[in-house]
C-alpha cells in the first residue's frame, strides 16, 4: 500500500519494538538456564528442564531448570550461609547494593521490558512504561530504607531466610516488591518465579552478579508448583511471602501451620469500580481502560466489578462500549497496542469458561468488533451487563479482560455491593464530590482505594488486601514490617512444654464452700456464679455445664461455664453487631478505656484477692497494678496511633489509614490471667476492634471480675465478649469461624499451630507467640506499637488532586 493510500485510510500501521537485543541475550545464554544459587548458575539436580513460551506466537523462548527438593535445599542453604554476613553489614553498605540494583535495572530497562513482553504477552508499552520503571523505583526506595533501617526501626531484626513465590502477571515487578524490602532489612532470599514467566527473574539474577551482590543473598530457583511446595515446606525458611491465587494461598497457610514460618499473602481480588452520578464519566471510562484492560485484565487488583449509579448507567455503558471499540489488541511488541496475549492456554480456557457460565446465568455479553491475531492466545475486551451479585462472574476472579457491570441506587448500597465479596484487595471510587468519595473510601473493605484513579502503584505506598485477598503489605513503611520482628521476640525462649490437665466438666466433689472468694468469717459467702459475657449480658452456657477451676495447689476455687461452639457463635454475632464501638471516635474509645482503668482501680483489692487464689498474692497484686497501667497505656494510644501520608511521585495525597481489623478472637495466656487478658484485649479495643476472648485457662474466674468492670465503664454491648471453656476447642471454633477476622493465640506451641491450621477457611490474620515466652510485666515487650500494628490493617487511599 502506497503512502497515498495510507493518506486516505489514516490507519495505524505496525510499530514493532525490535526484540533483537533481547533475543541476542537469550542466545548468549544458549536459551537454557539453570538455577541461580549461591551467586552461580547451577545445573538442576534432576537434570530436568521445561520450556517457556511466547504466548503471542507459541514459540519457545528458552529452557528453564525444574527444581527438585534438593535444588530448593541447596538454595536455602546458600541463603542461610549468606545471612549472617549480609545482616551484619552496615545499613549504608546494604543501601549501596540496593542502589546499584536500581541503577542496573535502569541501564538494562529496555532489554528487561522486551523480555517481559515476550515471556508474558503484555504490551510493550506496559512493560516499558509501568513494570520496569516501578522495579527501579522499588529498589531506589528501598535503598533508602536500607540506609535508614537502624534509626527508623530500632530494636527490630531481620527474620532470616525468606522464601518468595511470585505469579506470572507482573513477573519482574513483583520480584522487586518481594526482594527489595527483604534484602533491605537484612534478610536473604530464595525466590521462585512463576512457571509461565521465569525469564526476567533470571535476567535479574545476572544483574545481581553484575553489581557484585554477595553470593547467596538472592537465589532464584525455577520450577512448577512442586518446587514452590518444596520451598514452602522447607524447615530452613523463616518466612514465606506469596503472591498468587487464593487457592494456593490457602494451601500454603495449611502447609506452614505447624512450622514457625511467618507468612504474608497477596492473593486474588474482585475489586469494585464504583462510579457515582457526579463523576467525570469520560475519565471514569479511561479508568476502566487502566483498570480491567491493563495487562489483559490479568491483574489481581483489576477493577473487575463495575458498580454504576442507576441514573448514569445507560450513559456510562454506552461510553464504555464506545471506548472498548477503540481498544487495539494484537502483537504485544507493537508499541501502539492496548491489549496483548493471555499468558497461557489454561488461562484462556478459564476466561472462556467463566464468561460462558456468566452468560448462562443471565448476563448480557458485549464485545467490540475486533480482528484478533489468528496466532497466539487472545481474548477480546468483554463487558458483561445485567450481572447479579449471585452470578459466578460477580463473585469469582476471572483474571481476564472481562468487566462485570451492575447498578446501585445510593452510596450506602454501593458500599454494600462493593463489600459483598470474600476478597478485599482494592477499589476505585469515582465522584467529583470529595464528601462522597472519602466517605465511601472509608467504608470499603479493601487495602487500597483509588479515588478518581485506578491501578496506581508506588514503592512508598503499601499494597495488600483485606479478607481473603491476604495479609501483609508490600511497599512503604508498612511493607517493611513483614520482614522484621522485635529483637527481643526473636530471642525469646521457647516455653517449656507443660502438659496441662484438661479441665474437668464436673466437679468430682463438692468439698468446698460456695464459689468465689474465701469467706472471711464463719458466715458462708453468697454463692457467686460466673457466667459467660456475650453482647453485654451475663449469660449461661449453651451446654448447661460448668467446669471447675483449681488453684495452683490443686484446690478447687470455683466453677466457670463450659462454653461451646454455639456460645462462640453467639459471641461472634454480638461482636459483629457492636458497631457502636467500631464507629466511636478515638477520643470516645480512650474515655471508655480510662473508665475501665478507673473501675478496676476501685476494685483492685477484691480482684487481687480472688486472683491470689490462683496466682498467689504477690503476682495477683502485681497483675492488677500493671493491668491498670496497661489499660491507661492503650487509652492513651487510642487517639494517637495515627496513620501517615505517603509521598508517591504523583500529584496525589496517599493516606495510609490504620483501620481496625474487625472481629478479633483472642486466646489469652495461661500464666497471667488478668494482665495477659488486658495486654491483648486492650490494644484490640483501642484500635476499634470488637473482641471475642477466651480467658486464661488457669484462672477463667477472672471473667466475673472483668465483666463487672466492663458493665460499669460504658463499654458498648458486644465490644468485648468472654467465653470460658476448654480453650483448645474454643480456639478451633473461633479460628474456623468465617466472621472472625483475626485470631490471636498466646498460649502454647500447639495452639499457635492450631490457630494457623484452622484459619484457612477465610484466611483470617493469625498472630501468635509462636510458643515463645513473653514477659507480660515488661512493658517493653508486652505493650505498645507491636500490639497496635497487629490490631490494625493499613488502608491506602489515593486522592489525586488538581483543578
Amino acid at each position: 500500500m502506497s503512502i497515498a493510500e495510507k493518506f486516505v485510510s489514516m490507519d495505524y500501521g505496525p510499530a514493532p519494538e525490535d526484540p533483537k537485543e533481547a533475543q541476542a541475550w537469550l542466545d548468549r545464554h544458549r536459551r537454557r538456564f539453570g538455577h541461580f544459587i549461591g551467586g552461580e548458575w547451577r545445573e538442576p539436580v534432576g537434570g530436568v528442564f521445561f520450556d517457556s513460551f511466547d504466548p503471542s506466537t507459541g514459540e519457545k523462548i528458552a529452557s528453564v531448570a525444574q527444581a527438585l527438593a534438593a535444588d530448593i535445599d541447596a538454595a536455602v542453604k546458600a541463603a542461610r550461609e549468606a545471612f549472617p554476613k549480609w545482616q551484619a553489614l552496615t545499613c549504608h553498605n546494604r543501601a549501596r547494593y540496593l542502589y546499584a540494583l536500581a541503577r542496573a535495572v535502569q541501564r538494562h530497562s529496555r532489554r528487561l521490558a522486551v523480555l517481559e513482553t515476550i515471556d508474558n504477552g503484555k504490551p510493550i508499552r506496559e512493560s516499558r512504561d509501568i513494570d520496569i520503571p516501578l522495579v527501579a523505583r522499588h529498589f531506589y526506595h528501598h535503598a533508602g530504607w536500607a540506609q535508614l533501617l537502624e534509626s527508623e526501626f530500632p530494636d527490630q531484626t531481620a527474620l532470616g531466610v525468606i522464601g518468595q513465590i511470585i505469579p506470572w502477571n507482573f513477573p519482574l515487578l513483583i520480584l522487586a516488591w518481594k526482594i527489595a524490602p527483604a534484602i533491605a532489612t537484612g534478610n536473604t532470599v530464595v525466590l521462585k518465579p512463576a512457571e509461565f514467566t521465569p525469564i526476567t527473574a533470571l535476567a535479574f539474577a545476572e544483574i545481581c552478579t553484575e553489581i557484585g551482590l554477595p553470593a547467596g543473598v538472592v537465589n532464584i530457583v525455577t520450577g512448577d508448583g512442586s518446587a514452590g511446595e518444596s520451598l514452602v515446606k522447607h524447615p530452613g525458611v523463616d518466612k514465606i511471602a506469596f503472591t498468587g491465587s487464593t487457592e494456593v494461598g490457602r494451601a500454603i497457610r495449611a502447609a506452614t501451620a505447624s512450622s514457625h514460618n511467618r507468612l504474608s499473602l497477596e492473593l486474588g481480588g474482585k475489586s469494585p469500580f464504583i462510579v457515582f452520578e457526579d463523576a467525570d464519566l469520560d475519565s471514569a471510562v479511561e479508568g476502566l481502560v487502566d483498570g480491567i484492560w491493563l495487562n489483559q485484565g490479568q491483574v489481581c487488583c483489576a477493577g473487575s466489578r463495575l458498580l454504576m449509579q442507576e441514573s448514569i448507567a445507560e450513559v456510562l455503558t454506552a461510553k464504555v462500549k464506545d471506548r472498548m471499540s477503540t481498544l487495539r489488541a494484537g502483537p504485544p511488541l507493537d508499541k501502539a497496542i492496548d491489549m496483548g496475549a493471555i499468558v497461557a492456554p489454561v488461562q484462556l480456557d478459564r476466561i472462556r469458561r467463566l464468561v460462558e457460565q456468566g452468560i448462562a446465568e443471565g448476563s448480557t455479553c458485549w464485545q467490540p468488533q475486533m480482528v484478533l491475531p489468528t496466532r497466539g492466545l487472545y481474548y477480546p475486551p468483554t463487558l458483561l451487563s445485567n450481572v447479579h451479585p449471585t452470578s459466578v462472574v460477580a463473585q469469582q476472579e476471572i483474571f481476564g479482560p472481562v468487566l462485570a457491570a451492575m447498578t446501585f441506587r445510593t452510596p450506602s448500597e454501593a458500599v454494600e455491593l462493593a463489600n459483598n465479596t470474600a476478597f478485599g484487595l482494592a477499589a476505585s471510587v469515582w465522584s467529583e464530590s470529595l464528601n462522597v468519595a472519602l466517605q465511601v473510601a472509608a467504608q470499603l473493605k479493601a487495602g487500597v482505594v483509588w479515588v478518581n484513579s485506578t491501578n496506581l502503584f508506588d514503592a512508598a505506598c503499601g499494597f495488600g488486601g483485606y479478607r481473603e485477598s491476604g495479609y501483609g503489605r508490600e511497599g512503604g513503611r508498612e511493607g517493611l514490617r513483614e520482614y522484621l520482628e522485635p529483637t527481643w521476640f526473636k530471642n525469646a525462649p521457647k516455653m517449656a512444654a507443660v502438659k496441662h490437665p484438661e479441665p474437668k466438666e464436673r466437679p468430682e466433689s463438692n468439698a468446698r464452700g460456695p464459689s468465689g472468694a474465701p469467706s472471711s468469717d464463719s458466715n458462708p459467702s453468697i454463692d457467686r456464679t460466673v457466667k459467660l459475657y456475650i453482647g453485654g449480658k451475663q449469660v449461661r452456657p449453651d451446654s448447661g455445664y460448668s467446669m471447675e477451676v483449681r488453684a495452683a495447689d490443686g484446690r478447687v476455687v470455683g466453677e466457670v461455664p463450659s462454653g461451646n461452639r454455639k456460645d462462640i457463635r453467639n459471641a461472634v454475632e454480638a461482636a459483629r453487631k457492636a458497631t457502636a464501638w467500631s464507629k466511636a471516635t478515638a477520643h470516645n474509645r480512650a474515655q471508655v478505656l480510662y473508665y475501665v482503668a478507673e473501675n478496676l482501680s476501685q476494685r483492685r483489692n477484691e480482684v487481687a484477692g480472688r486472683l491470689a487464689a490462683a496466682a498467689g498474692e504477690k503476682q495477683a497484686v502485681a497483675e492488677v497494678e500493671a493491668g491498670i497501667e496497661r489499660i491507661f497505656a492503650y487509652a492513651a494510644w487510642a487517639d494517637k496511633f495515627d496513620g501517615s501520608v505517603h509521598n508517591p511521585p504523583f500529584r496525589t495525597i496517599a493516606i495510609a489509614m490504620n483501620e481496625p481489623i474487625g472481629n478479633v478472637g483472642i486466646i489469652c495466656p495461661r500464666e497471667v490471667p488478668l494482665l495477659g487478658f488486658l495486654s491483648l484485649v486492650m490494644p484490640a479495643l483501642a484500635c476499634g476492634n470488637t473482641v471475642i476472648a477466651v480467658p486464661s485457662e488457669s484462672y477463667p474466674l477472672i471473667t466475673g471480675d472483668l465483666y463487672q468492670i466492663f458493665d460499669t465503664s460504658d463499654l458498648p454491648a458486644g465490644a468485648v465478649n468472654i467465653v470460658t471453656g476448654p480453650a483448645s476447642q474454643l480456639l478451633k471454633t473461633l479460628a474456623e469461624h468465617d466472621d472472625v477476622d483475626a485470631i490471636w493465640s498466646f498460649t502454647d506451641d500447639a495452639s499457635a499451630s492450631a490457630a494457623k491450621a484452622y484459619s484457612v477457611g477465610n484466611l483470617k490474620q493469625v498472630w501468635t507467640n509462636e510458643g515463645r515466652t513473653i514477659d507480660w510485666f515488661n512493658s517493653k515487650q508486652a505493650e505498645g506499637r507491636w500490639f497496635l500494628e497487629h490490631s490494625t490493617q493499613v488502608k491506602n487511599i489515593w486522592v489525586p488532586h488538581g483543578e
Binding site: 503512502i3 489514516m10 500501521g13 463523576a279 475519565s283 483543578e803
Partner: protein
Amino acid sequence: MAGERSRQFGGAGRVTEPVVENFPPASVSEAPAATLAGRALLSNRGIPLNLDWLERVRVNTSAVERRTQTHTARRTVKNEWQAAWLLRAITCMDLTTLSGDDTDDRVRRLCAKARQPIQPDLAKQLEIEELEIKVAAVCVYHRFVETARRALEGSGIRVAAVSTGFPAGLNPLEERVAEIRRSVEAGAQEIDIVITRALVFGGKWQELYDEVAEFRRACGSAHMKAILGTGDLLTLRNVARASLVAMMAGADFIKTSTGKESTNATLPVSLVMVRAIREYAQETGMAVGFKPAGGIRTAKQSLEWLSLMKEELGTPWMAAELFRFGVSGLLNDIERQLEHQASGRYSADYRHPIA
C-alpha cells in the same frame, strides 16, 4: 443510543431545528458533515443555551492528564504510515502569521509556501504528487485578508482572519462585530473570533452565548472558529463549559487559544474540548470542528494530536473540514521528517524553503 443518552440532558438538548436568528446561513448544507460511531451528523447550527447541561459538566483534571500522558505512549505511527499522517497534518494546517511586523510581502511569502508546502522533488520521491498536498488555510490579521485572497486565488486554500479585537477581545461589541463584517467583505472565508474570558470567570453564560451568537450571525456564510483562550481560562472545567456555550451558540469550530497566551494548546485542554465536541454531537446530531493553536511545533506533536482525534472522535476529525492546526513553525519540522522518510538521512532546516 441517542435516545438513551438524551435523558441525561433533558429535552432542550434534543432541539435540532435552527433557533438562532438568521440560521442556518445560506451556505450550510443539509448533507452530512461527518459521522460519529456510524451516526450521520449535520454541520452545527446551534441550539438554545442549555444551562442544565453546563451545570452537569464534570472534569477531573488529574484523570484527564493521565489520559493524555498514556495516550501519547499508547499510540504511534511509523515509517510510511508516519509519512502519510504527516502529510495529512499539512492539509489540516491553518498556516498563520500574526505578528506586529507582518507586511504584505511577508504574507505573500506565506501564501506561496501554503500552495507548495513540500518541494516537488520530495513529493515525487514519496510518490504522492497526485495528492496535491497543500495547507487548509492561511490565517492573518484583517489588514492582510485582501493580500492573502489574491495570493491564494485558484488554489482552494481558504483565507482565515482573526477578528473581534484579537487577541484580548476587549473592544466594544459593535466594533468587534463590524470587524467580522469587514473581513468577510474583504474575502475571508473563515473568521477566528475570541470570546470575552471575563464572561466565563463570571459565569455569565447567557451573555457569552449572546456574544458568540452575534458573531456567528455577522460571519454569514464564513466559517466561525471560536477561540476560548484556554491559557487564560486555566481550569479544565471552565474550558469544558466555554466549549459547550460556544457550540450551542453556533460555532463551526472551537479553538484552544490565541497563541498569545502564556500556555497555548495542550493535550489535556484539547482532550476536554474534544470530549465536549463528542458529547455535543451525540446530543444534537451536529458536528463541530476542533483547532488547537499555539505551541505545536514538532512533527511528533502533530501526530499526537491526530491520534487523539482518531481515538476520541474518529477519522472525520482528522481532515480539514473538522480539524485544523493553528501553526506557524510546524511545517518546517514536518518537511524534515518527510525528507528523512524519503532519503533515510536526517535533514537540516536550511534545506527547506522558508515561508
